[in-house]
Symmetry: C2
Subunit: 264 residues, 2 copies
């Protein structure tokens, strides 16, 4: 979490940790988190923070310990239970690094629970750095106040993606050739009548720069869970299409109608 | 327009020029456009391109001239007339440079017609470089195939923005405190019944990192055209909120239902 993020937040710092969270647990923080809390945020010992690990919900904690290069937190009590995981999945042709990192950061902010990088004729899969992408997803989770850190699958082909995709999870494919109905209509159509129910499962697929190769598109129209959609009249860059598609999908078929800061 | 953009596009290069467009006009291109066409795209003399200036619609043209460091185009005939300008306006607290440039690029892709950088207690207005931002808007316009290049107002205060805002243009304010209805509902509500009519006028306002200062918020609830909206349960970075808000607004109250590549 950067200084800028916190200035924006006016909020108690939220930290991701790996350890299991139970009352009175002492969790050692890394040097980056220590630097952020003590130097950037200028917090003192016993200052209040919140911690989460993606499994045990949200907990209050206090800064603890005397080593100012590597501080710990003492876990106090649970603030919120771990919410159910129901966010969209995102499949994307791997773009250049800057766009890739934007996709992971913004996708996390918009509630993606699982990323599927797709190797295609036009995608540069060799550029993936899983450790760095996980750090981006964790930082974005801290910043946007979600309690589940999205996972990143290994690179696979489009065919492998479709072979393993659950039949009950609609996959909206942002087809840049413009065949398909507007995503807002398609997303609205999968929403059930029960307002109390969890959002329906869905995913978004955005092809690589250059689109899929013709051979990769063979048979796509026969895939029952795949739904071609359009994102409006202008040609969007791949990362713009990802953010726009996730925002529209969440607004119409996801949790976009929930109030801000509800645990998710 | 970068090489990557064209690989994605599979399309005839589209170039922005300043000159008025009429048949047989010869328009000198700059060194960057020349480099792009001859070196990156490896086009030859007489290769077909399209040109637009934001006023005269879309025209076909051919590469022309013999100076390989600075080529010209010869304008042929009009392909599409200049469409009416009806896109959203975007008001935003000026963020750091990377986020600012993302807002201008993605905002252009998503159809913004007028940008309003807002100076606030937390905004860094001194970082604006109008010439660079205009170049980003022009390149994004070329890439996304719109025919109108958005304009950028000078920096103003929130009060100045509100004083000059047209009363009939709804301004959706992405209020990060979460008071307000979901943007999708608010945007849907301003859409008229006439399916043939142009989209209603609207704008989006996203505050600076850190939000507006309390004094700046005084009286906002009495502004008749201002509508507080939420963008979902997670805390979005300012630039993410801009992209998500524009995508949702365009999908529900804008041109998101038009087919791709319709001139706009």
């Amino acid at each position: 979490m950067s200084e800028q993020d916190h200035i924006r937040s006016h909020r108690t710092p939220r930290l991701h940790v790996d350890a299991a969270l139970t009352p009175d647990t002492i969790v050692q923080l890394g040097p980056e988190q220590t630097h952020y809390l003590l130097r950037v945020m200028r917090l003192s010992l016993n200052a209040e923070v919140t911690v989460f690990n993606g499994r045990d919900g949200l907990w209050s904690a206090r800064l603890h310990g005397s080593d100012r290069r590597r501080i710990a937190v003492k876990v106090l009590g649970q603030i919120a239970p771990q919410p159910p995981v129901y966010g969209p999945w995102l499949a994307f042709g791997v773009p250049k690094r800057q766009a890739l990192e934007m996709i992971v950061q913004k996708g996390t902010e918009l509630g993606v629970t699982r990323f599927f990088p797709i190797a295609t004729e036009h995608a540069m899969a060799e550029r993936l750095n899983p450790a760095r992408l996980e750090r981006i997803a964790i930082e974005a989770s801290e910043q946007c106040e979600r309690l589940h850190v999205p996972s990143m699958d290994g690179v696979m082909s489009l065919q492998q993606l479709l072979d393993g995709w659950p039949a009950d999870r609609t996959l909206f494919w942002g087809d840049e050739t413009g065949r398909g109905e507007p995503l807002a209509d398609a997303a609205d159509a999968i929403l059930g009548e029960d307002l109390e129910a969890a959002p329906p499962p869905w995913g978004l697929m955005i092809g690589p720069e250059g689109g899929f190769a013709p051979a990769e598109l063979d048979g796509l129209d026969e895939v029952p869970f795949l739904k071609r959609v359009t994102l409006g009249p202008r040609i969007l860059r791949a990362e713009t299409a990802v953010i726009a598609g996730l925002a529209i999908g969440q607004a119409l078929a996801g949790d976009g109608d929930l109030p801000v800061r509800s645990a998710s």
